[in-house]
Amino acid sequence: MSNPPAAGRGQGPAIHVQGLEKSYKELRVLRGVDLEVERGCVFALLGSNGAGKTTVVRILSTLLKADAGTARINGFDVAAQAADVRASISLTGQFAAVDGILSGRENLVLVARLRHLKDPGGIADGLLRRFSLTEAGDRKATTYSGGMRRRLDIAMSLIGDPPVVFLDEPTTGLDPEARIEVWQAVKELAEGGTTVLLTTQHLDEAEQLADRIAILHQGRIVVEDTLDGLRRLLPPAEVEYVEKQPSLEEIFFAVVGADGRTPVDEEQR
């Protein structure tokens, strides 16, 4: 997985979206979305349920046609050059898209074969190790916990080193420990230079992971900036003395122990 990102890399920003519109019958989900994501950036698309985040991701990953507007991924137009776009991206959808009847290893080998890579078995073993799934590798994916399924899902998305990765609500439905595992995986991805567009409705997730954050509201991007930039939108911080109660999450980890990384054998039970 240390290969440089896929060849045929275009010029300019990794993701460029202009005036994107999409309606489902009467419902105008997207009313002119503009976005630009620099290469190597982790970009969070923040919005409440039904804000249209998934619609954006589906259009960018060539699963849905926009009514109006243009979108270019890695320099390729999603409508006119869909095949090139698909060669540049990887999609991790809202639900872990793994084949439950196959083992974790077979899932990885399958994707490596479909991407026409050499040594699918070696790639699979490497990813199993990287995502702490080696011991579970030969078990059917249906037997995995939610966090393990998600890790396998993300591992499948990394095969072939696509320069742009979409993560649609990657931690929805996960327990706090699994969520931190996924965050760790995303951080490693970003360190490797991959451009990541992630959608989330959890503010803390955007805060943890993203270089830049855009808020999608009523079909438009209402604000887009770095976290610090967004903070400056509010009046300057006032100093107050507040008795700091531990958050439930802090209590949870204090009781469960560790930094959220449960030993592998523990989790697989």
């Binding site: 849905l64 046609k65 095949a83 698909r86």
Partner: protein
């Protein structure tokens, strides 16, 4: 991407075939119902049915084979439905692969799974006294008709597989298909049926297909019925294929 069509389809077919081999119960379930019907008709009703042939099991086997295929394809719809639900279908569609290979993999798997079920049913029929002196050519023709019939029904199955909202919905379409042979010449000659029923039975696809297979296995001349049977299979195949294509493009643009 078309250069990869064969390779990608082979890889994807390997995946769906594993789904079949890892749930052998689906093959057994597919074969059990037709075998039960065969036992019932041969050993309970058969004695009272006058077909004009020496052996009733020889007479009704073609219809049983069609029932086997009609119930087998509901698992194709089920497997496709599961792919849609789990999101793996969208994962494949967002990858740089030959996109239609995903559907073809399900279709080829359907052919393989139904071939196993049909062979199992023929095996039981042999135990029950089914005999045919048909030569290799006739068997090849029977195989060809059954493959065409399976392809036609499989492309029908693709439609609910892509659109169903629930598992039950994905499988429900096959019930009328399983039932169709009962209102045909599959179990009794159509001559004894009352007028409107007889008219329906004589002109629906199953009768011509069953009559053709029966004639081939009994080494009788097939006559013009062969062309009617082939026309039905090819016609259903083309219509189902086109409709499945439209459904597919609506689901995934």
């Amino acid at each position: 991407m078309t250069a990869h069509f064969l390779g990608d389809t082979a890889v994807l077919t390997g995946r769906t075939l594993r789904h079949v081999t890892r749930s052998l119960d689906t093959l057994i379930t597919t074969a059990v119902t037709p075998i039960a019907i065969m036992l019932l008709f041969v050993y309970v009703f058969g004695g009272a049915i006058r077909t004009g042939t020496a052996s009733y099991v020889d007479y009704m086997l073609p219809g049983i084979l069609l029932i086997t295929i009609a119930s087998g394809i509901s698992y194709t719809a089920f497997r496709l439905f599961t792919d849609m639900q789990s999101g793996i279908f969208e994962r494949f569609q967002s990858m740089p692969i030959a996109r239609s290979g995903v559907l073809w993999a399900h279709v080829l798997t359907s052919l393989a799974a139904n071939a196993v079920s049909v062979a199992a049913v023929i095996g039981v029929a042999l135990l029950m006294g089914f005999r045919s002196g048909a030569g290799a050519g006739a068997w090849l023709a029977v195989t060809g008709i059954l493959v065409l019939f399976t392809l036609a029904l499989t492309w029908i199955a693709v439609i609910p597989g892509l659109t169903a909202k629930s598992v039950d919905g994905a499988g429900a379409f096959s019930y009328p298909l399983v039932f169709l042979p009962f209102i045909s010449s599959a179990f009794v000659p159509t001559g004894t049926m009352p007028g409107p029923v007889r008219a329906f039975a004589r002109h629906q696809p199953v009768t011509s297909i069953v009559d053709t297979i029966r004639a081939l296995l009994a080494q009788r001349p097939v006559g013009g019925g062969l062309w009617t049977a082939l026309a039905w299979c090819a016609g259903i195949l083309v219509v189902a294929y086109v409709l499945a294509g439209i459904t597919y493009r609506r689901r995934i643009s």
